[in-house]
Symmetry: D2
Subunit: 150 residues, 4 copies
């Protein structure tokens, strides 16, 4: 499978994950070297209702999702994948080992965009940096995730 076939298939798999659906996450950009995952404000995603800001768990969730997508696509570029069954088998062995999230500013906005890029790559482990901004470019959070990929 070429990148042109792989990436849409992976993006679709992420879009269809039940918890990603619950959050309203969508893979809005996906290339070999960077990814964007976006979602719209929803009152169901609020932590403190007096302050009307995103719950920290929502932010960690979307950062982990963006980092995981990036780690997966980087790792798959190292293998030759023959078909979707082989791809699914490889994907099922990949997982988050650990993640750190730093909350920088209150999670306010209409649309939120998480981006990720790889900072360490290897046969077994990838490390990604993730960022969350709102539609006005306000920098809400950063994260660092370590992923098992092989």
């Amino acid at each position: 499978m070429s990148d042109n076939e792989l990436l849409p298939f992976i993006a679709q798999a992420f879009d269809q994950m039940p918890f990603n659906c619950l959050l309203g996450l969508k893979v809005t950009h996906f290339a070999v070297d960077n990814v964007q995952v976006s979602f719209a404000w929803s009152d169901t995603l609020v932590g403190n209702p007096m302050q009307k800001i995103l719950h920290g768990g929502v932010i960690s969730s979307v950062l982990d999702t963006a980092g995981g997508l990036m780690a997966v696509s980087t790792a798959l570029g190292r293998f030759s994948i023959n078909d979707k069954a082989e791809l699914a088998a490889r994907l099922s062995k990949m997982s988050t080992i650990d993640i750190r999230t730093d909350y920088l500013r209150p999670g306010r906005g209409n649309t939120f965009i998480a981006s990720a890029h790889v900072i360490r790559t290897g046969n077994k482990v990838a490390v990604c940096r993730m960022e969350l901004h709102n539609e006005q470019g306000v920098h809400i959070a950063v994260g660092t995730g370590t992923y098992l990929v092989g």
Copy 2:
């Protein structure tokens, strides 16, 4: 307000946070020195549907919630709170600074219990350790959270 008045009020505030409701989180134990937040399995909380395990973001969310509750209650014990308006004002200034989650085993089970205890306390910052187990005692994840409390 005494601890006997404070803790139920705080627990109720957490139970009513919209995102905690979406996840089905409930504060099932709350004392000055430890807290438990529980939730039941739901298909909507799944990451990879083939593996039928909790999304990592669900795990980070519940660990953050349990740690935040613990940090808040420790911090409030340092102040004398006169009424609910003062409590609400103090609560609105408290927030997560950063959190690390380590995923240890796949998130499988019927019921999940997050617990937290304080490892560093102070006038401005508290640090908590959190753990997630399922109903059979399987250790699924640990976390460390740093909270702004003053």
Copy 3:
């Protein structure tokens, strides 16, 4: 090589690492399931000279060393190691992926003891929890380290 042969060899390798010598670290206990690394107070290890407390980097260093030892010994228990050349080859492929240190109390004391135990183990990655206490049992720091082991 049996555990009785392996552990002393590994401990000696750690004791002889140049930077561990500079810090005065010694492996003072080493079993399959836990490890202790100790060092004495030295004025050269001070951060702020007015406060006379250990530099945070000293604390991170000893926690990483204790966690690394634990990860290595756990991982080696999964392989059958025939001789020291094979052991050295395996050791040279093991490394720290990431580490988080939480500083809980000022680093004061005469002797400091770092301990570690494994919280996640696998063919490729191990995660350890580490603690630092002084000789009076004061809890100075905790850490979590992720190690590449296979």
Copy 4:
């Protein structure tokens, strides 16, 4: 005290910290918005002697030092400091709360440069991002540190 007086005083304080001297760290650049801390290769800073690479603890130490300097200078910009006694008093209340280090590539080189910038600032807590490169621009490690500053 103006920035022109403050920064050299702080840099000197860091250069004179005993453990920074042991590592050979020097503040080689220091402005209000970024800082560089450098050190030369030394055989005493080695972890594994077979591989001849920096000990992970050295890397965490220099990243923490660079991040701490950045946090301190940002925080001091918020106060008006009248004299060195007041500066020393403020400095003695500032400390690292937690730090995460990600090791990206083996620590090889002749000279190593740690840089830092602030990603969250406030009256009580600052968060910095740190990077370590060698003299050829090889990216060896990144870190994120949370600092108590007020």
